[in-house]
Protein backbone atom coordinates (compact mmCIF):
# COMPACT_ATOMS: atom_id res chain seq x y z
CA UNK A 1 0.00 0.00 0.00
CA UNK A 2 1.22 3.43 -0.86
CA UNK A 3 -0.01 6.71 0.52
CA UNK A 4 -2.70 8.19 -1.72
CA UNK A 5 -1.20 11.68 -1.71
CA UNK A 6 2.20 10.28 -2.70
CA UNK A 7 0.57 8.28 -5.51
CA UNK A 8 -1.35 11.29 -6.78
CA UNK A 9 1.76 13.41 -6.82
CA UNK A 10 3.75 10.64 -8.55
CA UNK A 11 1.03 10.43 -11.22
CA UNK A 12 0.94 14.20 -11.68
CA UNK A 13 4.72 14.18 -11.97
CA UNK A 14 4.69 11.31 -14.50
CA UNK A 15 1.97 13.12 -16.44
CA UNK A 16 4.01 16.30 -16.67
CA UNK A 17 7.35 14.63 -17.38
CA UNK A 18 6.66 11.36 -19.17
CA UNK A 19 3.51 11.98 -21.21
CA UNK A 20 5.40 12.34 -24.50
CA UNK A 21 7.43 9.18 -23.91
CA UNK A 22 4.35 7.11 -23.02
CA UNK A 23 2.26 8.49 -25.89
CA UNK A 24 5.03 8.02 -28.45
CA UNK A 25 5.61 4.42 -27.26
CA UNK A 26 1.87 3.78 -27.64
CA UNK A 27 1.55 5.42 -31.06
CA UNK A 28 4.21 2.94 -32.14
CA UNK A 29 1.66 0.19 -31.51
CA UNK A 30 -1.53 1.94 -32.65
CA UNK A 31 -0.30 4.11 -35.53
CA UNK A 32 -3.38 6.15 -34.67
CA UNK A 33 -2.95 9.20 -32.47
CA UNK A 34 -6.51 9.27 -31.12
CA UNK A 35 -6.49 5.64 -30.03
CA UNK A 36 -3.05 6.09 -28.47
CA UNK A 37 -4.21 9.16 -26.53
CA UNK A 38 -7.21 7.27 -25.24
CA UNK A 39 -5.10 4.31 -24.09
CA UNK A 40 -2.51 6.54 -22.43
CA UNK A 41 -5.25 8.41 -20.60
CA UNK A 42 -6.62 5.08 -19.37
CA UNK A 43 -3.15 4.01 -18.22
CA UNK A 44 -2.80 7.14 -16.11
CA UNK A 45 -6.24 6.49 -14.64
CA UNK A 46 -5.40 2.83 -13.91
CA UNK A 47 -2.18 3.92 -12.20
CA UNK A 48 -4.11 5.49 -9.32
CA UNK A 49 -5.60 2.26 -7.99
CA UNK A 50 -2.70 0.05 -9.00
CA UNK A 51 0.07 2.15 -7.48
CA UNK A 52 -1.93 2.62 -4.31
CA UNK A 53 -2.20 -1.17 -3.99
CA UNK A 54 1.24 -2.27 -5.22
CA UNK A 55 3.37 0.79 -4.60
CA UNK A 56 4.79 3.35 -7.01
CA UNK A 57 6.88 1.57 -9.68
CA UNK A 58 10.59 2.36 -9.99
CA UNK A 59 10.08 3.40 -13.60
CA UNK A 60 6.63 5.00 -13.89
CA UNK A 61 7.06 5.74 -17.63
CA UNK A 62 7.76 2.07 -18.40
CA UNK A 63 4.80 0.96 -16.27
CA UNK A 64 2.48 3.43 -17.99
CA UNK A 65 3.77 2.55 -21.48
CA UNK A 66 3.28 -1.16 -20.86
CA UNK A 67 -0.28 -0.68 -19.62
CA UNK A 68 -1.20 1.72 -22.44
CA UNK A 69 0.31 -0.55 -25.10
CA UNK A 70 -1.37 -3.65 -23.71
CA UNK A 71 -4.71 -1.85 -23.75
CA UNK A 72 -4.04 -0.69 -27.31
CA UNK A 73 -3.19 -4.23 -28.45
CA UNK A 74 -6.44 -5.53 -26.96
CA UNK A 75 -8.45 -2.93 -28.83
CA UNK A 76 -6.55 -3.54 -32.06
CA UNK A 77 -7.12 -7.31 -31.87
CA UNK A 78 -10.79 -6.82 -31.14
CA UNK A 79 -11.37 -4.20 -33.82
CA UNK A 80 -9.02 -5.54 -36.47
CA UNK A 81 -11.58 -5.51 -39.27
CA UNK A 82 -12.86 -2.09 -38.31
CA UNK A 83 -9.35 -0.71 -38.18
CA UNK A 84 -8.46 -2.06 -41.60
CA UNK A 85 -10.37 0.86 -43.05
CA UNK A 86 -8.71 3.52 -40.88
CA UNK A 87 -5.97 5.67 -42.31
CA UNK A 88 -2.95 4.72 -40.18
CA UNK A 89 0.02 6.98 -39.64
CA UNK A 90 2.59 6.74 -42.39
CA UNK A 91 5.89 5.52 -41.02
CA UNK A 92 9.09 3.94 -42.24
CA UNK A 93 7.84 0.37 -42.46
CA UNK A 94 11.11 -1.31 -41.56
CA UNK A 95 11.40 0.68 -38.36
CA UNK A 96 7.82 0.36 -37.25
CA UNK A 97 6.81 -3.25 -37.74
CA UNK A 98 3.05 -2.61 -37.73
CA UNK A 99 2.18 -3.58 -41.27
CA UNK A 100 -1.01 -5.01 -42.73
CA UNK A 101 -0.43 -8.28 -40.90
CA UNK A 102 -0.64 -6.36 -37.61
CA UNK A 103 2.38 -7.93 -35.97
CA UNK A 104 2.44 -6.53 -32.49
CA UNK A 105 5.97 -5.81 -31.29
CA UNK A 106 6.75 -7.81 -28.22
CA UNK A 107 9.12 -5.42 -26.52
CA UNK A 108 9.92 -5.18 -22.86
CA UNK A 109 9.60 -1.64 -21.52
CA UNK A 110 13.37 -1.23 -21.57
CA UNK A 111 13.69 -1.78 -25.32
CA UNK A 112 10.89 0.56 -26.32
CA UNK A 113 12.80 3.00 -28.50
CA UNK A 114 12.47 6.66 -27.66
CA UNK A 115 10.04 7.87 -30.27
CA UNK A 116 9.45 11.35 -28.86
CA UNK A 117 11.33 12.97 -31.75
CA UNK A 118 8.92 11.50 -34.31
CA UNK A 119 6.04 12.87 -32.30
CA UNK A 120 7.60 16.34 -32.03
CA UNK A 121 8.54 16.57 -35.71
CA UNK A 122 5.08 15.41 -36.77
CA UNK A 123 3.36 18.01 -34.55
CA UNK A 124 5.61 20.75 -36.01
CA UNK A 125 5.34 19.70 -39.66
CA UNK A 126 5.41 22.79 -41.91
CA UNK A 127 2.26 21.60 -43.72
CA UNK A 128 0.38 22.48 -40.51
CA UNK A 129 -0.31 26.10 -39.64
CA UNK A 130 1.76 27.47 -36.79
CA UNK A 131 -1.37 27.77 -34.64
CA UNK A 132 -2.00 24.09 -35.22
CA UNK A 133 1.65 23.24 -34.50
CA UNK A 134 1.52 25.07 -31.17
CA UNK A 135 -1.75 23.45 -30.14
CA UNK A 136 -0.72 19.93 -31.17
CA UNK A 137 2.65 20.20 -29.45
CA UNK A 138 1.01 21.23 -26.17
CA UNK A 139 -1.70 18.61 -26.46
CA UNK A 140 0.29 15.62 -27.73
CA UNK A 141 3.88 16.21 -26.61
CA UNK A 142 3.15 17.90 -23.27
CA UNK A 143 -0.18 16.19 -22.59
CA UNK A 144 -1.86 19.49 -21.68
CA UNK A 145 -5.66 18.98 -21.64
CA UNK A 146 -7.52 20.75 -24.45
CA UNK A 147 -9.39 23.20 -22.13
CA UNK A 148 -6.03 24.38 -20.76
CA UNK A 149 -4.57 24.73 -24.26
CA UNK A 150 -7.61 26.85 -25.13
CA UNK A 151 -7.09 29.05 -22.05
CA UNK A 152 -3.42 29.54 -22.89
CA UNK A 153 -4.26 30.86 -26.35
CA UNK A 154 -7.30 32.83 -25.20
CA UNK A 155 -9.76 31.00 -27.45
CA UNK A 156 -12.89 29.05 -26.54
CA UNK A 157 -12.65 25.37 -25.81
CA UNK A 158 -14.72 24.28 -28.85
CA UNK A 159 -12.52 26.44 -31.09
CA UNK A 160 -9.35 24.82 -29.73
CA UNK A 161 -10.87 21.32 -29.86
CA UNK A 162 -11.80 21.92 -33.51
CA UNK A 163 -8.30 23.21 -34.28
CA UNK A 164 -6.68 20.10 -32.77
CA UNK A 165 -9.12 17.72 -34.47
CA UNK A 166 -8.60 19.40 -37.83
CA UNK A 167 -4.82 19.15 -37.48
CA UNK A 168 -4.97 15.47 -36.55
CA UNK A 169 -7.28 14.83 -39.48
CA UNK A 170 -4.85 16.53 -41.83
CA UNK A 171 -1.98 14.39 -40.51
CA UNK A 172 -3.82 11.20 -41.41
CA UNK A 173 -5.67 12.32 -44.57
CA UNK A 174 -2.71 14.08 -46.20
CA UNK A 175 -0.35 11.39 -44.85
CA UNK A 176 2.04 13.69 -43.04
CA UNK A 177 4.70 11.12 -42.23
CA UNK A 178 5.35 10.12 -38.63
CA UNK A 179 9.12 10.22 -38.78
CA UNK A 180 12.25 12.18 -38.00
CA UNK A 181 13.20 14.08 -41.17
CA UNK A 182 16.16 12.98 -43.26
CA UNK A 183 19.47 14.81 -42.86
CA UNK A 184 18.83 16.99 -45.94
CA UNK A 185 15.53 18.31 -44.57
CA UNK A 186 16.59 18.39 -40.94
CA UNK A 187 17.84 22.00 -40.68
CA UNK A 188 14.54 23.47 -41.94
CA UNK A 189 12.38 21.08 -40.01
CA UNK A 190 14.35 21.56 -36.80
CA UNK A 191 14.00 25.32 -37.23
CA UNK A 192 10.22 24.87 -37.22
CA UNK A 193 10.35 22.80 -34.02
CA UNK A 194 12.58 25.32 -32.25
CA UNK A 195 10.37 28.18 -33.46
CA UNK A 196 7.32 26.53 -31.89
CA UNK A 197 9.09 26.08 -28.55
CA UNK A 198 10.43 29.64 -28.66
CA UNK A 199 6.99 31.02 -29.51
CA UNK A 200 5.35 29.12 -26.63
CA UNK A 201 7.87 30.72 -24.31
CA UNK A 202 7.42 34.19 -25.80
CA UNK A 203 3.62 34.05 -25.54
CA UNK A 204 3.98 33.23 -21.83
CA UNK A 205 6.76 35.73 -21.28
CA UNK A 206 4.91 38.70 -22.74
CA UNK A 207 1.60 37.86 -21.07
CA UNK A 208 0.45 40.94 -19.14
CA UNK A 209 0.09 40.59 -15.38
CA UNK A 210 -3.35 39.31 -14.56
CA UNK A 211 -3.28 37.03 -17.62
CA UNK A 212 -4.64 33.50 -17.07
CA UNK A 213 -2.12 31.37 -15.19
CA UNK A 214 -2.06 28.83 -18.03
CA UNK A 215 -0.66 31.52 -20.30
CA UNK A 216 2.23 32.09 -17.90
CA UNK A 217 2.73 28.32 -17.55
CA UNK A 218 3.53 28.22 -21.27
CA UNK A 219 7.04 29.30 -20.25
CA UNK A 220 7.41 26.17 -18.13
CA UNK A 221 6.12 23.97 -20.93
CA UNK A 222 8.52 25.59 -23.37
CA UNK A 223 11.45 24.92 -21.03
CA UNK A 224 10.21 21.36 -20.51
CA UNK A 225 10.23 20.84 -24.29
CA UNK A 226 13.59 22.55 -24.72
CA UNK A 227 15.03 20.27 -22.01
CA UNK A 228 13.73 17.18 -23.81
CA UNK A 229 15.62 17.90 -27.03
CA UNK A 230 19.37 18.03 -26.23
CA UNK A 231 19.46 14.37 -25.15
CA UNK A 232 17.56 13.37 -28.32
CA UNK A 233 19.61 15.55 -30.70
CA UNK A 234 23.06 15.96 -29.13
CA UNK A 235 24.68 17.11 -32.38
CA UNK A 236 22.56 20.23 -32.86
CA UNK A 237 24.06 23.43 -31.37
CA UNK A 238 20.78 25.33 -31.81
CA UNK A 239 18.97 22.83 -29.60
CA UNK A 240 21.38 23.69 -26.77
CA UNK A 241 21.25 27.36 -27.75
CA UNK A 242 17.47 27.53 -27.43
CA UNK A 243 17.48 25.81 -24.03
CA UNK A 244 20.19 28.22 -22.84
CA UNK A 245 18.24 31.22 -24.14
CA UNK A 246 15.06 30.15 -22.36
CA UNK A 247 16.89 29.35 -19.12
CA UNK A 248 18.74 32.63 -18.94
CA UNK A 249 15.64 34.65 -19.84
CA UNK A 250 13.56 32.75 -17.32
CA UNK A 251 16.20 33.20 -14.61
CA UNK A 252 15.10 36.85 -14.44
CA UNK A 253 11.37 36.09 -14.37
CA UNK A 254 10.86 37.15 -10.73
CA UNK A 255 12.38 40.60 -11.24
CA UNK A 256 10.88 41.71 -14.57
CA UNK A 257 8.06 43.65 -12.93
CA UNK A 258 7.81 45.36 -9.55
CA UNK A 259 5.27 44.65 -6.82
CA UNK A 260 2.66 46.69 -8.70
CA UNK A 261 3.26 44.78 -11.93
CA UNK A 262 5.19 47.63 -13.56
CA UNK A 263 7.92 46.70 -16.03
CA UNK A 264 11.44 47.12 -14.62
CA UNK A 265 14.45 47.96 -16.76
CA UNK A 266 17.44 45.63 -16.61
CA UNK A 267 19.37 48.27 -14.67
CA UNK A 268 16.63 48.52 -12.04
CA UNK A 269 16.15 44.79 -11.49
CA UNK A 270 17.28 43.17 -8.24
CA UNK A 271 20.09 40.91 -9.43
CA UNK A 272 20.25 39.06 -6.12
CA UNK A 273 16.90 37.48 -7.02
CA UNK A 274 18.09 36.11 -10.36
CA UNK A 275 18.34 32.33 -10.58
CA UNK A 276 22.14 31.91 -10.59
CA UNK A 277 21.97 28.12 -11.11
CA UNK A 278 19.90 28.55 -14.28
CA UNK A 279 22.26 31.26 -15.55
CA UNK A 280 25.27 29.03 -14.92
CA UNK A 281 23.57 26.09 -16.65
CA UNK A 282 22.84 28.29 -19.68
CA UNK A 283 26.47 29.42 -19.79
CA UNK A 284 27.70 25.82 -19.70
CA UNK A 285 25.32 24.77 -22.47
CA UNK A 286 26.62 27.30 -25.00
CA UNK A 287 30.28 27.65 -23.97
CA UNK A 288 31.53 24.85 -26.23
CA UNK A 289 29.66 26.03 -29.33
CA UNK A 290 30.81 29.63 -28.80
CA UNK A 291 34.41 28.45 -28.59
CA UNK A 292 34.18 26.41 -31.79
CA UNK A 293 32.13 29.03 -33.63
CA UNK A 294 29.17 26.65 -34.10
CA UNK A 295 26.63 28.87 -32.38
CA UNK A 296 23.50 29.74 -34.32
CA UNK A 297 20.88 32.41 -33.73
CA UNK A 298 19.57 31.02 -30.48
CA UNK A 299 23.04 30.29 -29.17
CA UNK A 300 24.19 33.86 -29.86
CA UNK A 301 21.03 35.35 -28.36
CA UNK A 302 21.63 33.17 -25.31
CA UNK A 303 25.24 34.35 -25.15
CA UNK A 304 24.06 37.97 -25.20
CA UNK A 305 21.47 37.34 -22.49
CA UNK A 306 24.07 35.43 -20.45
CA UNK A 307 26.57 38.30 -20.76
CA UNK A 308 23.93 40.55 -19.19
CA UNK A 309 22.96 38.02 -16.55
CA UNK A 310 26.50 37.18 -15.51
CA UNK A 311 27.43 40.81 -14.74
CA UNK A 312 27.32 41.25 -10.93
CA UNK A 313 25.92 44.78 -11.37
CA UNK A 314 24.51 46.70 -14.33
CA UNK A 315 27.58 48.96 -14.41
CA UNK A 316 29.83 45.88 -14.66
CA UNK A 317 28.17 44.75 -17.91
CA UNK A 318 30.75 43.90 -20.57
CA UNK A 319 29.19 46.07 -23.31
CA UNK A 320 32.01 45.69 -25.87
CA UNK A 321 31.58 41.90 -25.68
CA UNK A 322 27.84 42.29 -26.16
CA UNK A 323 28.43 44.48 -29.25
CA UNK A 324 30.77 41.78 -30.64
CA UNK A 325 28.11 39.12 -30.07
CA UNK A 326 25.50 41.32 -31.78
CA UNK A 327 27.86 41.75 -34.74
CA UNK A 328 28.05 37.97 -35.08
CA UNK A 329 24.28 37.64 -34.71
CA UNK A 330 23.60 40.35 -37.28
CA UNK A 331 25.95 38.68 -39.78
CA UNK A 332 23.94 35.46 -39.43
CA UNK A 333 20.53 37.09 -39.15
CA UNK A 334 20.28 40.50 -40.83
CA UNK A 335 17.10 41.52 -39.03
CA UNK A 336 16.27 45.15 -38.17
CA UNK A 337 15.27 44.03 -34.65
CA UNK A 338 18.79 42.65 -34.14
CA UNK A 339 20.23 45.92 -35.49
CA UNK A 340 18.05 47.87 -33.06
CA UNK A 341 19.25 45.86 -30.07
CA UNK A 342 22.82 46.20 -31.32
CA UNK A 343 22.36 50.00 -31.38
CA UNK A 344 21.39 49.87 -27.69
CA UNK A 345 24.58 47.95 -26.89
CA UNK A 346 26.65 50.37 -28.99
CA UNK A 347 25.17 53.26 -26.98
CA UNK A 348 26.23 51.56 -23.76
CA UNK A 349 29.71 50.70 -25.03
CA UNK A 350 30.48 53.98 -26.82
CA UNK A 351 27.93 56.55 -25.63
CA UNK A 352 24.43 57.70 -26.67
CA UNK A 353 25.67 59.64 -29.72
CA UNK A 354 27.25 56.48 -31.19
CA UNK A 355 24.03 54.64 -30.34
CA UNK A 356 21.93 57.21 -32.20
CA UNK A 357 24.22 56.87 -35.22
CA UNK A 358 23.69 53.09 -35.21
CA UNK A 359 19.97 53.67 -34.78
CA UNK A 360 19.82 55.96 -37.83
CA UNK A 361 20.49 52.96 -40.08
CA UNK A 362 17.63 51.03 -38.45
CA UNK A 363 15.27 53.97 -38.94
CA UNK A 364 16.33 54.38 -42.56
CA UNK A 365 15.54 50.70 -43.14
CA UNK A 366 11.89 51.59 -42.48
CA UNK A 367 10.66 48.13 -41.49
CA UNK A 368 10.44 49.06 -37.79
CA UNK A 369 8.58 52.36 -38.18
CA UNK A 370 5.53 50.87 -36.45
CA UNK A 371 7.52 49.15 -33.67
CA UNK A 372 7.17 51.00 -30.36
CA UNK A 373 10.49 49.75 -29.03
CA UNK A 374 12.41 51.62 -31.78
CA UNK A 375 10.88 54.92 -30.66
CA UNK A 376 11.38 54.10 -26.99
CA UNK A 377 15.09 53.45 -27.57
CA UNK A 378 15.45 56.63 -29.58
CA UNK A 379 13.66 58.59 -26.85
CA UNK A 380 15.99 57.18 -24.20
CA UNK A 381 19.15 58.07 -26.19
CA UNK A 382 17.89 61.58 -26.97
CA UNK A 383 17.01 62.06 -23.30
CA UNK A 384 20.53 61.10 -22.28
CA UNK A 385 21.88 63.71 -24.72
CA UNK A 386 19.54 66.31 -23.11
CA UNK A 387 17.60 66.72 -26.36
CA UNK A 388 14.43 66.80 -24.26
CA UNK A 389 11.93 68.02 -26.81
CA UNK A 390 12.90 65.38 -29.41
CA UNK A 391 12.95 62.73 -26.66
CA UNK A 392 9.39 63.66 -25.63
CA UNK A 393 8.18 63.41 -29.23
CA UNK A 394 9.76 59.94 -29.53
CA UNK A 395 8.12 58.76 -26.27
CA UNK A 396 4.76 60.04 -27.53
CA UNK A 397 5.24 58.05 -30.70
CA UNK A 398 6.23 54.92 -28.75
CA UNK A 399 3.13 55.32 -26.55
CA UNK A 400 0.88 55.60 -29.57
CA UNK A 401 2.22 52.26 -30.85
CA UNK A 402 2.47 50.17 -27.63
CA UNK A 403 -0.54 48.11 -26.67
CA UNK A 404 0.63 46.14 -23.63
CA UNK A 405 -0.65 48.05 -20.55
CA UNK A 406 2.48 47.35 -18.50
CA UNK A 407 4.68 48.70 -21.27
CA UNK A 408 2.46 51.75 -21.78
CA UNK A 409 2.64 52.60 -18.08
CA UNK A 410 6.43 52.32 -18.25
CA UNK A 411 6.67 54.64 -21.25
CA UNK A 412 4.29 57.19 -19.71
CA UNK A 413 6.42 57.27 -16.54
CA UNK A 414 9.57 57.83 -18.57
CA UNK A 415 7.93 60.65 -20.50
CA UNK A 416 6.86 62.31 -17.24
CA UNK A 417 10.45 62.09 -15.94
CA UNK A 418 11.90 64.16 -18.80
Amino acid sequence: MADRTAVESAIADAHRREWALVLAATVRVTRDVDLAEECVQEAYTAALASWEKDGIPDNPAAWLSTVARRRAMDIIRREQTLRAKLPLLVTDAEEMPMGEDEVIPDETPDDIPDERLRLIFTCCHPALSQDAQLALTLRLVCGVPTPDVARAFLVSEPTMAARITRAKKKISAARIPYRVPRAAELPDRLRAVLAVIHLLFTVGHTAPSGAPLMRVELMDWAIHLARMLPALMPDEPEVRGLLALLLVTDARRATRVDAEGRLLRLEDQDRSRWDRAAIAEAGDLIAGDLRTGRSGRYGLQAAIAAAHAEAPAYDDTDWPRIVTLYDALQAMWPSPVVALNRAVAVAMASGPAAGLAALAAVEADGRLTGYHYLHAVKADLLGRLDRTREAAAAYEQALSLADNETERAFLAARLAEL
Binding site: A174, R175, I176, P177, P181
Partner: protein, 118 residues
Amino acid sequence: MAEYAILIYTPASADPAEITPEDRARLERGARAEADTGAMLAAFELQAASTATSIRGDALTDGPFIEAKEVIAGFCVIEAPDLDAALEIARGNPALALGAGIEVRPVFGGFVAGRSTG
Protein backbone atom coordinates in the same frame (compact mmCIF):
# COMPACT_ATOMS: atom_id res chain seq x y z
CA MET B 1 0.95 4.68 -51.55
CA ALA B 2 -1.52 7.51 -51.84
CA GLU B 3 -2.68 9.81 -54.60
CA TYR B 4 -2.31 13.57 -54.54
CA ALA B 5 -3.69 16.20 -56.89
CA ILE B 6 -1.24 18.91 -57.84
CA LEU B 7 -3.24 22.02 -58.73
CA ILE B 8 -1.32 24.63 -60.69
CA TYR B 9 -2.35 28.28 -60.32
CA THR B 10 -1.33 31.14 -62.62
CA PRO B 11 -2.50 34.76 -62.95
CA ALA B 12 -6.06 34.85 -64.31
CA SER B 13 -4.89 36.57 -67.48
CA ALA B 14 -2.36 33.85 -68.38
CA ASP B 15 -2.95 32.01 -71.65
CA PRO B 16 -1.08 28.80 -72.50
CA ALA B 17 -1.19 29.85 -76.18
CA GLU B 18 1.01 32.82 -75.33
CA ILE B 19 3.79 30.89 -73.60
CA THR B 20 7.07 31.59 -75.43
CA PRO B 21 8.66 28.69 -77.34
CA GLU B 22 11.59 28.67 -74.87
CA ASP B 23 9.26 28.44 -71.87
CA ARG B 24 7.16 25.83 -73.66
CA ALA B 25 10.30 23.76 -74.24
CA ARG B 26 11.19 24.12 -70.54
CA LEU B 27 7.72 22.99 -69.50
CA GLU B 28 7.86 20.00 -71.78
CA ARG B 29 11.33 18.97 -70.64
CA GLY B 30 10.16 19.27 -67.03
CA ALA B 31 6.97 17.34 -67.73
CA ARG B 32 8.93 14.53 -69.37
CA ALA B 33 11.30 14.38 -66.38
CA GLU B 34 8.33 14.19 -64.01
CA ALA B 35 6.67 11.51 -66.12
CA ASP B 36 9.91 9.50 -66.08
CA THR B 37 9.78 9.23 -62.28
CA GLY B 38 6.75 6.97 -62.69
CA ALA B 39 4.83 8.92 -60.05
CA MET B 40 2.64 10.78 -62.54
CA LEU B 41 -0.78 9.20 -63.09
CA ALA B 42 -2.37 11.97 -65.18
CA ALA B 43 -1.57 15.54 -66.17
CA PHE B 44 -3.61 18.24 -67.88
CA GLU B 45 -2.93 21.79 -68.98
CA LEU B 46 -6.06 23.93 -69.41
CA GLN B 47 -7.03 26.62 -71.91
CA ALA B 48 -7.06 30.24 -70.70
CA ALA B 49 -9.50 30.97 -67.83
CA SER B 50 -11.33 33.41 -70.14
CA THR B 51 -12.58 30.39 -72.10
CA ALA B 52 -14.29 28.90 -69.04
CA THR B 53 -18.06 28.68 -68.50
CA SER B 54 -19.43 28.25 -64.99
CA ILE B 55 -22.64 26.68 -63.74
CA ARG B 56 -24.10 27.65 -60.38
CA GLY B 57 -27.58 26.28 -59.76
CA ASP B 58 -29.52 27.07 -62.95
CA ALA B 59 -27.37 30.00 -64.01
CA LEU B 60 -24.63 29.94 -66.58
CA THR B 61 -21.88 32.54 -66.38
CA ASP B 62 -19.00 33.37 -68.65
CA GLY B 63 -15.62 32.91 -66.98
CA PRO B 64 -14.09 30.97 -64.11
CA PHE B 65 -16.20 29.91 -61.11
CA ILE B 66 -14.48 32.28 -58.69
CA GLU B 67 -13.33 35.74 -59.73
CA ALA B 68 -9.77 35.68 -58.44
CA LYS B 69 -6.36 37.03 -59.30
CA GLU B 70 -5.10 33.50 -59.74
CA VAL B 71 -6.93 30.58 -61.30
CA ILE B 72 -6.27 26.92 -61.97
CA ALA B 73 -4.21 26.54 -65.14
CA GLY B 74 -3.73 22.82 -64.95
CA PHE B 75 -3.53 19.84 -62.66
CA CYS B 76 -1.98 16.46 -62.35
CA VAL B 77 -2.45 13.45 -60.16
CA ILE B 78 0.58 11.73 -58.71
CA GLU B 79 1.20 8.73 -56.56
CA ALA B 80 3.45 9.10 -53.50
CA PRO B 81 4.04 7.27 -50.22
CA ASP B 82 3.46 10.33 -48.04
CA LEU B 83 3.06 14.11 -48.04
CA ASP B 84 6.80 14.81 -47.84
CA ALA B 85 7.36 12.75 -51.00
CA ALA B 86 4.40 14.40 -52.74
CA LEU B 87 5.71 17.88 -51.88
CA GLU B 88 9.10 16.96 -53.25
CA ILE B 89 7.55 15.90 -56.57
CA ALA B 90 5.40 19.06 -56.62
CA ARG B 91 8.45 21.25 -56.06
CA GLY B 92 9.94 19.78 -59.22
CA ASN B 93 6.98 20.95 -61.31
CA PRO B 94 8.35 23.08 -64.19
CA ALA B 95 5.48 25.60 -63.92
CA LEU B 96 6.84 26.76 -60.54
CA ALA B 97 9.96 28.14 -62.21
CA LEU B 98 7.71 30.18 -64.52
CA GLY B 99 5.99 31.82 -61.56
CA ALA B 100 3.01 29.50 -61.06
CA GLY B 101 1.78 28.57 -57.57
CA ILE B 102 0.93 25.03 -56.57
CA GLU B 103 -1.55 23.42 -54.18
CA VAL B 104 -1.01 19.80 -53.17
CA ARG B 105 -4.15 18.05 -52.03
CA PRO B 106 -4.74 14.42 -51.13
CA VAL B 107 -7.16 12.55 -53.38
CA PHE B 108 -10.20 11.09 -51.67
CA GLY B 109 -11.30 8.94 -54.61
CA GLY B 110 -11.64 8.94 -58.37
CA PHE B 111 -10.96 7.10 -61.57
CA VAL B 112 -9.24 7.65 -64.89
CA ALA B 113 -10.61 6.01 -68.04
CA GLY B 114 -8.00 4.29 -70.14
CA ARG B 115 -7.74 6.82 -72.97
CA SER B 116 -5.58 9.84 -73.73
CA THR B 117 -6.74 13.36 -74.58
CA GLY B 118 -5.75 16.12 -76.92
